[in-house]
C-alpha cells in the first residue's frame, strides 16, 4: 500500500463551463452559473435558483455522436462528455492497453426520464427504452461504452452528496493495491423534478443566490454537473512518461451516525473524515494550504462543517472557500467537480473566492476567503458530506 496515485487527466461539465478550461475561466472571472430553471417545467420555477448546464440533451447527444434511438438519460450524457474529456486529457489512445476500470457515481441516474414517462410507459412503447436506463448503474455502463472499456471492472457508488469523492477514493485504493493500472473515477448528476421537490420538502432550497458560510444563508441552489479524473499507477506514469497534474495524497470516509439527513452539530463525521485523510497522506494539518469546503449554504451543513474544520485545524484554519455559489450543489457530482477545481487551484496557485458572503456566522470566528488570492499552493483538501451521515475528504498535492 505504498504506491502513489497520479492524476493524469480531468474533465468537467457544469453550469460554469462545458470543459475544464471554461470552468477555470469562470472561477477566475468570478462568474456564477446560477439562474432560474429553464429546462425543467416545475411549479417551483420562481421559488428556486439552479446551476443549469447550458446545453440541451439533443446538443449533448450530437456531441457524443449518438443516434436518435439512444436511451441515454441526461446523467449519462453529461457523464460521458466529462469522462471523455478526462481520458483525452490523459493522452490515452488505447483504453484497454492497461487494466483500466471505471468507478462512476450518481444519485439520480435515469430519474429525469422516469419522471417524464412514469405513466406514459404503459401507453407508449416508444419511451419504454428508458425503463432499463432508470437504475443508476446504467449510466456507468454507458460511460464505459463511450470510453471503450470492455471486459473490465466497472462499478457505481451512490452515497448521496459524497458519491464522487467516494468513487475517487475507491479508485485510489484499486491503484494502490495493484488491482488496476488505471481507473477513470468521478460522478454525474442531472437536475430532476425528483431532487428539486425532494430538497424543497426539506426546506433547504434558497430562493436566491446561495451564500455559503454566511450568517443569513437561506439554503442551497441545486445544480447539475459531471466530472471525472484519470488515476494511474506509478508504473504507467513511468512507462509512458506521463505528465502528472497532481497526486491524490490522502482520503478518508467516516459516518456521522447522527441522523438520516442532518449532520451533527459538532461535525463529528466530517472531523473523522479529515483526520483519516491527513493520516493516510501522512501530513499534519499545517501542511494544508487551502480547503475547498463542501459549504452547501444550508444552515445545518455550514455550521457542522465549520465546527469540524475548527476541530481539525484549531487556531490555524487555512484559507477556505466553497465553490457551490458558482455551480450550485451538484449532489453526486460535487466531489468530482470540486476535485477538478482543487487540482486547478494547485496548478495555478489560485484560491477561489467564496462568492456572496457578507455576514460572519455567529457560532464561530472563522471566515471564508472572500477575494481571489494568488498563493503558492502545495496541498489542497476537499470535503464532501452527504445524507446518511456520509462524510468524505480528499487531499490533493503537487508532491507524490
Amino acid at each position: 500500500m505504498s504506491k502513489g496515485v497520479a492524476i493524469t487527466g480531468m474533465g468537467v461539465i457544469s453550469a460554469i463551463g462545458n470543459n475544464v478550461a471554461e470552468n477555470y475561466i469562470s472561477l477566475v472571472e468570478e462568474k456564477k452559473g446560477i439562474s432560474r430553471i429553464s429546462r425543467i417545467d416545475t411549479v417551483h420555477h420562481d421559488a428556486i435558483m439552479v446551476g443549469e448546464i447550458n446545453l440541451s440533451n439533443e446538443n449533448l447527444e450530437k456531441t457524443l455522436g449518438l443516434t436518435p434511438e439512444n436511451n441515454y438519460p441526461r446523467t449519462a450524457l453529461l457523464g460521458a462528455i466529462a469522462a471523455k474529456e478526462a481520458v483525452k486529457n490523459a493522452a490515452i489512445d488505447d483504453i484497454n492497453e492497461y487494466r483500466t476500470g471505471l468507478i462512476s457515481s450518481t444519485s439520480v441516474g435515469g430519474m429525469d426520464m422516469t419522471e417524464q414517462y412514469y405513466y406514459k410507459y404503459f401507453e407508449d412503447s416508444e419511451c419504454q427504452k428508458y425503463i432499463d436506463s432508470h437504475h443508476i448503474g446504467d449510466s456507468t455502463k454507458k460511460i464505459a461504452e463511450q470510453l471503450g472499456i470492455q471486459e473490465s471492472f466497472i462499478t457505481t457508488i451512490s452515497t448521496a452528496c459524497s458519491s464522487a469523492a467516494n468513487a475517487i477514493m475507491f479508485g485510489a485504493r484499486l491503484i494502490k493495491s495493484g488491482k488496476l493500472d488505471r481507473v477513470v473515477v468521478g460522478g454525474a448528476d442531472c437536475l430532476s423534478k425528483f431532487t428539486i421537490n425532494g430538497f424543497k420538502t426539506l426546506m433547504i432550497l434558497s430562493d436566491t443566490y446561495s451564500t455559503p458560510f454566511d450568517e443569513h444563508r437561506k439554503g442551497l441552489n441545486l445544480g447539475e454537473a459531471a466530472a471525472f479524473l484519470v488515476l494511474e499507477s506509478d508504473e504507467v506514469v513511468k512507462a509512458q512518461d506521463k505528465k502528472v497534474l497532481a497526486y491524490l495524497k490522502g482520503y478518508g470516509n467516516a459516518n456521522d451516525a447522527f441522523h438520516q439527513t442532518a449532520s451533527s452539530e459538532n461535525g463529528e463525521g466530517a472531523t473523522l473524515a479529515m483526520q483519516k485523510a491527513l493520516k493516510i497522506a501522512d501530513i499534519s494539518p499545517n501542511d494544508i494550504d487551502y480547503i475547498n469546503a463542501h459549504g452547501t449554504a444550508t444552515r445545518n451543513n455550514d455550521l457542522s462543517e465549520g465546527r469540524a474544520i475548527i476541530n481539525v485545524f484549531g487556531e490555524n484554519v487555512p484559507d477556505f472557500s466553497s465553490t457551490k455559489a458558482y455551480t450550485g450543489h451538484t449532489l453526486a457530482a460535487a466531489g468530482g467537480i470540486e476535485a477538478v477545481y482543487s487540482i486547478l487551484a494547485l496548478q495555478n496557485n489560485h484560491i477561489y473566492p467564496n462568492l456572496n458572503f457578507k455576514t460572519q456566522m455567529e457560532e464561530f470566528t472563522i471566515t471564508p476567503q472572500t477575494k481571489a488570492k494568488e498563493k503558492e499552493l502545495t496541498t489542497v483538501l476537499s470535503n464532501s458530506l452527504g445524507f446518511g451521515g456520509n462524510c468524505s475528504t480528499l487531499i490533493f498535492s503537487k508532491k507524490a
Binding site: 420538502t201 426539506l202 426546506m203 441522523h259 438520516q260 439527513t261 442532518a262
Partner: protein
C-alpha cells in the same frame, strides 16, 4: 377545540406512522418533540405540510414550527387562530 385536538392526534399518528401509539396516549400538553413522542426534524417538516394542506397555513421558515408544534394544545390554538379553511 376538543374536536380539533382529537383530529390532530389522529392525524399525527397517521401522518407520522406512529403505529404503536394511540390517541389516548397523547395528552394535550405532552411535548411532541424530544422527551415526549420523540419526534424529530423530519416530522416537523411533515407537520408543516399538514398545516398547509389541511388548514391552509403556510410556514416559510421551519424554525417557526418550533413553538407551534410544542404540543397538541399549542398546535390547536395556532390553527384555530390562523386557519384559512
Amino acid at each position: 377545540m376538543d374536536a380539533l385536538k382529537e383530529e390532530l392526534k389522529n392525524k399525527i399518528i397517521e401522518q407520522l406512522n406512529l403505529e404503536d401509539v394511540t390517541v389516548d396516549e397523547i395528552a394535550d400538553n405532552d411535548p411532541l418533540f424530544g422527551e415526549g413522542l420523540g419526534l424529530d426534524s423530519i416530522d416537523a417538516l411533515e407537520l408543516i405540510v399538514m398545516l398547509d394542506k389541511d388548514y391552509g397555513i403556510k410556514l416559510s421558515d421551519p424554525k417557526e414550527g418550533k413553538k407551534i408544534f410544542e404540543s397538541v394544545e399549542t398546535m390547536a390554538s395556532y390553527i384555530s387562530e390562523n386557519s384559512s379553511k
